[in-house]
Symmetry: C2
Subunit: 366 residues, 2 copies
């Protein structure tokens, strides 16, 4: 994990590769040799970026990563605000954020598809973002969409086979399709609507306030830990917590600590080691600022909704699909709520296959 | 409101009235003269208190308040952790925490019932609690029940007509009935179960961590504000927030502030002016420590459950009633979720009347 943590936290200026392409050797996994055909790089955005909410970045750079057979259809994969360009890897440490879903023979099969991803603007990755507490402008999902559009031009990609976006990534996917419909054939949107629900905005606003309390008190990690712990309560479902955390509390210095509290704090501490408060603030705000015009998303959309999702209620997904010109809604159930996209890999495999036109029955054969 | 704020915040040692009884004149309201017949006082608990979780308070005092016609049935009224002995008042400022429910011709008619209430142990009122950041032991709902039992002895009350408890107060009511079933004829329990749901414990644990972050950073009010703001998201329902807070954010210094965020912060600020972080920590922990044996609550219980309650899920109320030996479950719907007990005064009036044996049809007549 160390290499990944360093990458995520690194924000030092470095020489920019304008087309940094590196091939890695084939990797053996499950007795099968897979060629990842990795290409990745950091590009300068010529002329900087004029952002949707009015600010201007004079210079901007973009970190991207692509894998897969050169002739295969290209699918852009976008995750939540903690997602990044390293969607999957084949090494045993599995540091990709979606390694259970993207890979050989998985829901997004890397032997059938080229997978393209990038670090979000304003986040903790290699793309331009805040650092060292400096002010950074508000970022819209339209800005992420513009970055992707610029990346496609840079890579010479005329039209994507699909964008698969979950959570924030689903919002970005819809923003892209509204603006650049000629550049993508289809969207798969998991747990993301045309705007955030006010209760979700409530929870995220408070997370940002907690992070700021930490920053203002010179305890940035403590604030980010608590904010992430709170976020975890919204990512999961009450039923999951009831099943896992009904045990008794234990006493420490005369105060009681509850099993669910220990779990949340551990998740928060882990997160605060890997991400920066600044990037969290920008991308969290970006979710709440997200507003697209669903009626203008004129590409086929497969929307996947989770009935137990507290953050993106099923009613909002149904309303989204009623406004989208070409939508099919697939509803699923998961005790993991909003995090179903990270956990329900088998269900996703079934749901992704048809809209992506994937060949099934090829499991395990080279 | 000022008088009430001062009362709640006052924690200075003062001479203790062992049976401070004060009569107030009759009050005119809605053209009708009502005699409140107020008695209140602060009593010493002889011998202190041995607490359920093992600590011992060498000295303890208890603030109580009682109103109503001397011969009327006595009902103890207990609210959430922000509740206190001033359940209602007749003055226009209405500083009682349940003034919409308790009063002449209301759901708990003060002309038909004597209403008894007390400040919780460990809270911000006149009963013993923490102050000035000093350590205070963990408090159980059984400890609150013991205080009430001592209060009944002090006042010479052999048996209560009922205890009406909502939220934390419902937990205390059940703890009392399990321990002292001979002292109460019936319980009305609104939105309270035999133990807290792990998701609710998750949210409260994080509220306590936020308060401690504020205390540790010498920003106690900031921490309490955020904790209360977070609590508000759990007291209400997503549907209420969707109906109220779908407006656009506004920009302040390049950052966006959302309508729901402003609302929550305003509620938090208001709360932090009136309550102490220390008392919040103790009573919040007490909710999560609450565990009673429902099978031993051998009095008739009318349980009132709100389907939209995020904090006390309806499934937990149904399971509680399955374990209680003598329970009737009344389910209601409210966009206010857990806060329905503060908002749905008409529904409560209908639901309270039969179990309390109240005379109906006397509306508005003196």
């Amino acid at each position: 994990m160390t290499a990944f943590k360093d990458t995520i936290r690194a924000k030092n200026p470095r020489p920019v590769d304008t087309a940094g392409v590196s091939d890695v050797p084939a990797v053996r996994r499950d007795g099968v040799v897979h060629a990842v055909n990795l290409r990745e790089g950091i590009i300068d955005i010529p002329g900087g970026l004029r952002l949707h909410h009015g600010a201007r970045l004079e210079a901007a750079r973009l970190g991207w990563r692509m894998t897969g057979p050169a002739a295969a259809p290209i699918v852009v994969v976008l995750g939540g605000i903690s997602g990044h360009r390293t969607v999957f890897t084949l090494d045993p440490a599995r540091i990709g954020w979606w390694s259970e879903v993207v890979g050989p023979d998985l829901a997004l099969p890397t032997d059938q598809l080229q997978i393209l991803a990038f670090d979000y603007l304003g986040g903790s990755g290699e793309t331009t973002g805040p650092s060292n507490g400096e002010w950074f402008p508000a970022v819209s999902t339209y800005d992420q969409a513009e970055l992707l559009w610029r990346l496609l031009d840079h890579l010479g990609i005329k039209k994507l086979h699909a964008i698969v976006g979950a959570s924030y990534g689903g919002m970005v996917a819809m923003a892209f399709a509204q603006r650049y419909r000629e550049r993508v054939s289809r969207l798969l949107v998991v747990s993301a609507a045309d705007r955030a629900h006010p209760m979700a905005t409530a929870w995220r606003s408070l997370q940002r306030r907690i992070v700021r309390l930490g920053l203002d008190s010179s305890r940035p990690e403590a604030g980010l830990e608590l904010a992430r712990a709170l976020a975890m309560t919204t990512y999961r479902s009450p039923n999951e917590f009831a099943a896992r955390f009904s045990g008794e509390p234990h006493e420490i210095d005369g105060r009681f600590v509850f099993p669910v509290e220990e779990y949340l704090l551990a998740r928060g501490e882990d997160y605060a080691k890997r991400y920066q408060p600044d990037g969290f603030l920008i991308l969290s705000e970006s979710i709440d600022l997200h507003r697209i015009d669903a009626s203008q998303v004129n590409v086929p959309v497969t929307a996947i909704a989770v009935r137990e999702d507290q953050l993106v209620p099923i009613a909002d997904m149904r309303a989204l699909c009623a406004r989208l010109p070409q939508a099919e809604l697939l509803e699923m159930s998961s005790i993991y709520g909003h995090d179903a996209f990270l956990k329900e890999c088998r269900q996703l495999k079934n749901l992704f296959a048809a809209p992506l036109g994937l060949v099934s029955g090829a499991e395990g054969t080279p």
